[in-house]
């Protein structure tokens, strides 16, 4: 199969959907000639023209609201917020409007929009350009939250998100943009709410999100040499969550490590832990549920400090080793 980058897969998904459906359009800051801050939409202005690639001035609230309004009259906008940190500026329209309009209007309206945004640290962009704020949106009924890890997943999930009739917060990771993988050329969808077992194992289940999936897979490789067999699950969509795949895996392994980049307190791992603890998997647990997440602090600028703020491969190895020894 053809290999392309995560970034190219995002662009291909948007391009193919725009070719298929004339109601799909892009709106965002510097997405035109500049190609987007990360070059995701590079070349799309030439292909589709300024009528469908709407380059905006610095108006996060305005452009997000414009996407909500366009969706309300039957369009399928894809809004890009340049850094996830800036969703704070857009959140009124996302949280109070997009998420609630359908319900408030008695089910008589739909908001088929996607808000794409890159999250995560590792680029030396410091505290205001490195956050992972996914759990804020997970907490808002009416939104769906998607966080893909591989080029294959990002294409299929983005196409599914564009075709979904609900507002979807689609979270990419800056460090994943250049990663490569097999991606079919033709359009395809991956159902929202379907997790993927990225590696099968028998001793410990790791449920990880976004770049932590790649790091967990790397850790699992090393741990296999030590005789520890790790199963890695990527929920891919945080909301709706595929509880079944996770519960079944934990029942099999009896141990679970939850890994994400976002700050630990109030993070998604807390939700996952509760879901597992409430489920039939509880009785199968051979050790307490473990969380490995970002420190409860802003992301620092300095390379070494930044590196030590969020989980790295060696932290995952260590946490899994400890868990392997742990008993109830």
């Amino acid at each position: 199969m053809r290999e392309i980058t995560y970034l190219e897969a995002v662009r291909e998904a948007m391009t193919q959907e725009m070719e298929r459906d004339e109601t799909v359009f892009l709106i965002g800051e510097d997405i035109g000639e500049y190609g987007g801050a990360f070059q995701v939409s590079y070349g799309m202005l030439e292909k589709f023209g300024p009528e469908r690639i709407l380059d905006t001035p610095i108006t996060e609230l305005g452009l997000t609201g414009a996407a909500v309004g366009a969706a309300l009259v039957g369009m399928r906008p894809i809004a890009e917020i340049m850094f996830m940190d800036f969703t704070t500026l857009a959140s009124e329209q996302l949280v109070n409007q997009a998420a609630k309009i359908r319900f408030m209007f008695g089910g008589n309206a739909t908001i088929p929009m996607v808000l794409r945004t890159p999250a995560g640290s590792g680029t030396g962009a410091a505290s205001q350009h490195s956050q992972s704020l996914e759990n804020w949106f997970v907490h808002v009924p009416g939104l769906k939250v998607v966080m893909p890890t591989t080029p294959y997943d990002v294409k299929g999930l983005l196409i599914a998100s564009i075709r979904d009739d609900n507002p979807v917060v689609f979270i990419e990771h800056k460090l994943l943009y250049k990663t490569k993988g097999d991606v079919p050329e033709e359009p395809y969808t991956i159902s929202l709410g379907k997790a993927d077992i990225k590696r099968e194992g028998t001793d410990i289940t790791i449920v990880a999100t976004s770049i932590m999936v790649s790091r967990s897979l790397e850790a699992a490789e090393k741990l296999a040499e030590e005789g520890i067999s790790i199963e890695v699950i990527d929920p891919r969509t945080l909301k709706p969550l595929d509880t079944e795949t996770i519960v079944n895996s934990v029942k099999k392994t009896g141990k679970v490590l939850l890994v994400h980049e976002a700050a630990k307190t109030g993070g998604y791992a807390g939700e996952l832990a509760a879901v597992i603890a409430e489920s039939e998997a509880f009785g199968y647990l051979d050790a307490p549920i473990q969380r490995l997440a970002g420190r409860d602090m802003p992301i620092p600028y300095n390379r070494t400090l930044e590196y030590n703020t969020v989980p790295q491969v060696e932290n995952i190895i260590e946490a899994a080793r400890d868990l392997a020894k742990l008993r109830v």
Partner: protein
């Protein structure tokens, strides 16, 4: 702009419907029949009716939290509207939205909004959508003087101009943002004068003069429909009642309220319509009587309507 006799009577009738709806809403609330809050637009009827009367049925509106008048002016089914106010299953929003969120998607009323300024950014996107759909429809986006101080306003005006959207922004300056007086920070003229700074026309209008509102809106709607982009109109008006049910009117005097009651927009149009012989005294009385009768029948419909069932509580959170 010419007004036919039939049209004049209908305009008067619609204004009376709004007045009657608001009075009934207040009465029902005082009688303990309403669970939530309400924001009454008594005194602002000419702004709602005058502006929306120049739209075609295929045109759209998006409103603010004081939206009963706008909804009626856009031709809502009064039964479904009153049922929604009562929180009933057969209301416009199945009792999920209430007074602050009444939307009539079929009637192309894209809803009231509980967040001050919340509808303005959406208006730009609706305009983008309408432009792409090439059906030559326009949108009126209503908001208040309170929203005009909000950051959403500024961003939206910039985008509206940039994309030349077919949208008429109408600021209903009713003089108070909850309790904060507009006169302490702006005037209708100053608000309207912002528009040319963003790059499009703006006009302040006597919002209690139905004819003036109609003419200004017609000009702006034609401008939008011709592909010439957005406009801003500021209708200078006044709300007779408090902001909502919690209001004790501590921030204004009874004299001021009485002074504005003298400028009643309905009586003003009624007088003019009789003077111009668009309607007779008798026809004006009929319009009034009919308006109140329409609302009384809507009240009966609402009160005899079913409550939503708890089994359906989560319906509509997501599109399936």
């Amino acid at each position: 702009m010419k007004i036919s006799k039939k049209e004049a009577k209908e305009l008067l009738h619609t204004m009376y419907q709004i007045r009657a709806f608001e009075e009934q809403a207040e009465k029902s609330y005082m009688a303990g029949k309403i669970h939530g809050t309400m924001h009454l637009s008594i005194g602002q009827e000419a702004s709602a009716v005058g502006s929306i009367s120049v739209l075609k049925p295929t045109d759209y509106i998006i409103g603010h939290h004081r939206g009963h008048g706008l909804t009626i002016a856009k031709g809502a089914d009064l039964n479904l509207m009153m049922a929604e106010f009562y929180g009933k299953e057969n209301g416009y929003c199945r009792g999920r939205g209430g007074s602050m969120h009444i939307a009539d998607m079929e009637g192309r009323n894209l809803g009231a909004n509980g967040v001050v300024g919340g509808g303005i950014p959406m208006a730009v996107g609706i305009g983008i959508g309408l432009k792409m759909q090439k059906e030559n429809n326009v949108l009126i986006s209503f908001f208040g003087d309170g929203a005009a101080s909000n950051g959403a306003f500024h961003e939206s005006m910039i985008l509206a101009h940039l994309y030349q959207v077919p949208v008429v922004f109408i600021c209903e300056n009713n003089q108070y943002a909850m309790s904060f007086p507009a006169k302490d920070w702006t005037t209708s003229e100053q608000l309207a004068a912002r528009a040319p700074l963003y790059g499009f026309p703006g006009k302040a209008v006597d919002g209690n003069d139905l004819i003036a509102v109609r003419e200004a809106t017609k000009e702006a709607v034609d401008h939008a429909r011709n592909g010439d982009g957005p406009s801003l109109i500021v209708n200078n008006t006044y709300r007779w009642r408090g902001h909502s049910k919690s209001d004790r009117n501590r921030y204004r005097t009874q004299d001021e309220i009485d002074e504005w009651k003298e400028k009643d927009p309905i009586l003003r149009f009624r007088k003019l319509a009789i003077e111009k012989k668009w309607v007779t005294e008798k026809e004006a009385d009929e319009a009034e009587k009919q308006g109140y009768a329409d609302i009384e029948s809507a009240r009966q419909f609402a009160e005899s309507s079913p409550e939503p069932s708890v089994e359906t509580i989560e319906e509509g959170v997501y599109a399936l």
